[in-house]
């Protein structure tokens, strides 16, 4: 029962040597990011997202005119709206504001409301999901029944009720859209955590004597977050569409000075026959933005999926 000395001294020379010589390792997140950069879908999605965020942030610089001005009101009558020309690239809207300016400023609303509402949904949903998936037992039952109740109400109806109850404001819209997303995140995170709970490394962590809290937050949660992050990206697209939908229904901020794509479609629809572009441009903006987030989300799903790893 003696040990060949070379085994302990230089394992690299023994049979189980690793080919790579680098000393700094590659974590799974970094590996996923690398794969993401190679995917054309991700690049297109990210490009759309970058343009969208840049436009939203730089709207005051990019816009050719002041937003929500009424200086060209006289150019627009019930039967005539000025279309595209050299002075106004996309024409003017029914209130007499420059259409391009309004669209650029509209991106701000979509971005803020979309991101904040998804964050509300993600934080609340992930919190509930972590409770349910991490502790199990009666906590799990209680949380999941609550989530089931939320889920039994159609999301648009839930959002409308919340927005109606809280009054017309952007914040009400964010809470409304966020609340409708809570069940999705909660269920998704819970199920992926339950899958990890019985895995060997969790048992190993337990046998090492780690605290339950450390195991859940430090081991189970990070390994379960992948699908939730993907879902959050995809939900951003849905949220932006829902912002537009709820504004279209008249539930958002009703201050006409604040440009919002959904409300721009509403105001454009009664002149659809004479000036279809009034509804068309904001519609295209919503579609492209949603597409960007969806593309990015889908390629993130592929990059994070362990089965796709090389």
């Amino acid at each position: 029962m003696t040990t060949p000395p070379d085994v302990l001294v230089s394992p690299a020379s023994s049979g189980d040597a690793d080919s790579s010589e680098s000393t700094s390792g590659e974590s799974l997140w970094r590996g996923a990011f690398k794969r993401l950069r190679r995917s054309p879908m991700a690049i297109i999605g990210a490009a759309i997202m970058v343009v969208f965020v840049a436009v939203a942030l730089l709207a005051p610089v990019l816009a050719p005119y002041e937003p929500a001005s009424t200086q060209w009101t006289n150019l627009s009558t019930p039967v005539f709206v000025q279309g595209s020309n050299s002075e106004h690239l996309l024409g003017i809207d029914r209130w007499g504001s420059d259409m391009l300016t309004q669209l650029l400023f509209g991106a701000r609303q979509s971005l803020i409301i979309g991101v904040v509402s998804t964050l509300i949904g993600l934080i609340a949903g992930a919190g509930l999901g972590t409770l349910a998936g991490g502790f199990g037992g009666w906590v799990d039952s209680l949380v999941m029944r609550f989530v089931d109740i939320l889920l039994s109400i159609p999301s648009l109806l839930l959002a409308i009720s919340i927005a109606a109850a809280m009054g017309k404001s952007s914040f009400a819209l964010m809470v409304a859209i966020g609340a409708a997303q809570v069940p999705i995140f909660a269920r998704l995170l819970r199920s992926s955590m339950l899958g990890q709970n019985r895995s060997d490394y969790v048992v190993a962590a337990e046998s090492l004597g780690l605290r339950r809290r450390t195991i859940i937050l430090g081991h189970v949660l990070p390994n379960s977050l992948g699908p939730t992050i993907v879902q959050a990206t995809l939900n951003l697209a849905t949220a932006i569409i829902e912002v537009a939908a709820l504004s279209f229904l008249g539930l958002g901020n009703d201050d006409p000075a604040v440009a919002e794509w959904g409300r721009m479609i509403v105001s454009g629809q009664d002149r659809f026959l004479v000036a279809p572009w009034l509804a068309f441009y904001p519609g295209v903006c919503i579609a492209i933005t949603a597409l960007g987030f969806t593309l990015l989300g889908e390629s993130m799903r592929e990059a994070l999926d362990p089965k796709q790893r090389r």
Partner: protein, 345 residues
């Protein structure tokens, strides 16, 4: 002999079988471990062998309280681990560690090696000099210190198992339970890992419980060997004793299945074949658990009466009513004629 490090008394792990959706009721139990007594002595290695599904892994996990035993005691330093709860149990865990079968799945893929091996120290509030301790641990298990910043998926199977071992010894435990420590590894690497375990035992004065299904592996590392069948220990003896003179019919048939690397001996060798599968632990046979497959079974006593573990020679215990008769050749295996005719043709 001195007082054992760990005493297991009458340990039972029964998993309930439930039926019904709203009103669950228990309709039976899988008796994975059914009344096991074990003594593990300081600085020694106890091997635990048995076929798949006999409950050997469950026994290991129940000792470490990763599975809650339904009955029995696990006594370490005068404390019954089976009764501990919450924080008391967590504090006791530093004295006992586990090495897992599959090193890939037992290491969190998102943690670097450095985090993996220092995590147990942080969990128990042990102060340490991070860099030096990591280097020391990696050196102990034969990994270069450059491994510290890398991640489990960048290593080979054998190296991963070394990381798993480094984690297990980080807390300087008394007892290490190795559950199939090498069965997921290539044969060429198995010996290295086993040698590493032995080297560490000498350096750190460790006590091992090595769970395996490979008889050769167990013989190589163990001082004592316990043979498990269907939730119970059927024979326990010093390693060489057991392999040279097995007493229980189950052990005899297991050992006779090992081929001898000599064609002439191999040709003449009498093999005892086991028929059938392991019975269901949800519905174990009456009497001796092994009687349904035993080639030496004697009418009615084996079917009715559960044989207790008896000490036949110093340190050699066996749970068989007819161990002496079998040893003296007074009882011959029933299917001997069939095997002779099969060998002649």
């Amino acid at each position: 002999m001195d007082e054992p490090l760990l005493k297991v008394r009458g340990l039972e792990v029964h998993f309930p079988i439930k039926r019904g959706i709203v009103l669950e009721r228990q309709i039976g139990a899988v008796k994975a471990v059914d009344g096991v007594d074990l003594d593990i002595y300081k600085g020694k290695t106890l091997g635990l062998v048995g076929e798949s599904g006999c409950g050997k892994s469950t026994l290991g996990r129940a000792i470490l309280r990763l599975t809650k035993p339904t009955a029995g005691q696990v006594i370490y330093n005068g404390t019954d681990l089976a009764q501990l709860q919450g924080e008391d149990l967590r504090r006791q865990r530093r004295h006992m560690q586990m090495v897992f079968q599959d090193p890939m799945s037992s290491l969190n893929p998102r943690q670097s090696v450095e985090t993996l091996v220092t995590e147990p120290l942080r969990a128990h509030g042990i102060s340490f000099e991070r860099h030096a301790r990591v280097k020391e641990l990696l050196e102990l298990v034969g990994l270069p210190s450059s491994a510290a910043n890398r991640y489990p998926h960048e290593f080979s199977g054998g190296q991963r198992q070394r990381i798993g071992i480094a984690r297990a010894i980080a807390l300087e435990p008394d007892l290490v339970i190795a559950d199939e420590p090498v069965s997921a590894l290539d044969v060429s690497i198995q010996a290295q890992v086993l040698n590493l375990l032995e080297e560490l035992q000498e350096r750190l004065n460790l006590t091992y419980l090595v769970i395996a299904h490979d008889l050769a592996v167990v013989r190589h590392v163990s001082d004592d060997v316990a043979v498990m069948y269907l939730g119970g220990i059927v024979e326990q003896a010093p390693s060489d004793d057991l392999y040279e003179q097995p007493l229980h019919p189950y052990t005899i048939s297991l050992l006779s299945a090992i081929p001898v690397p000599n064609p002439e001996v191999e040709d003449r060798r009498e093999r005892i074949l086991l028929s059938g599968d392991l019975p269901s632990p949800a519905n174990p046979p009456s009497g001796c658990r092994f009687h349904t497959r035993c080639p030496f079974r004697q009418e009615t006593r084996c079917d009715d009466e559960l044989p207790p573990l008896r000490e036949l020679s110093p340190g050699h215990t066996v749970a068989c009513h007819y161990a002496e008769e079998i040893l003296d050749g007074k009882i011959t295996p029933r299917s001997a004629e069939e095997m002779l005719t099969a060998g002649a043709s």
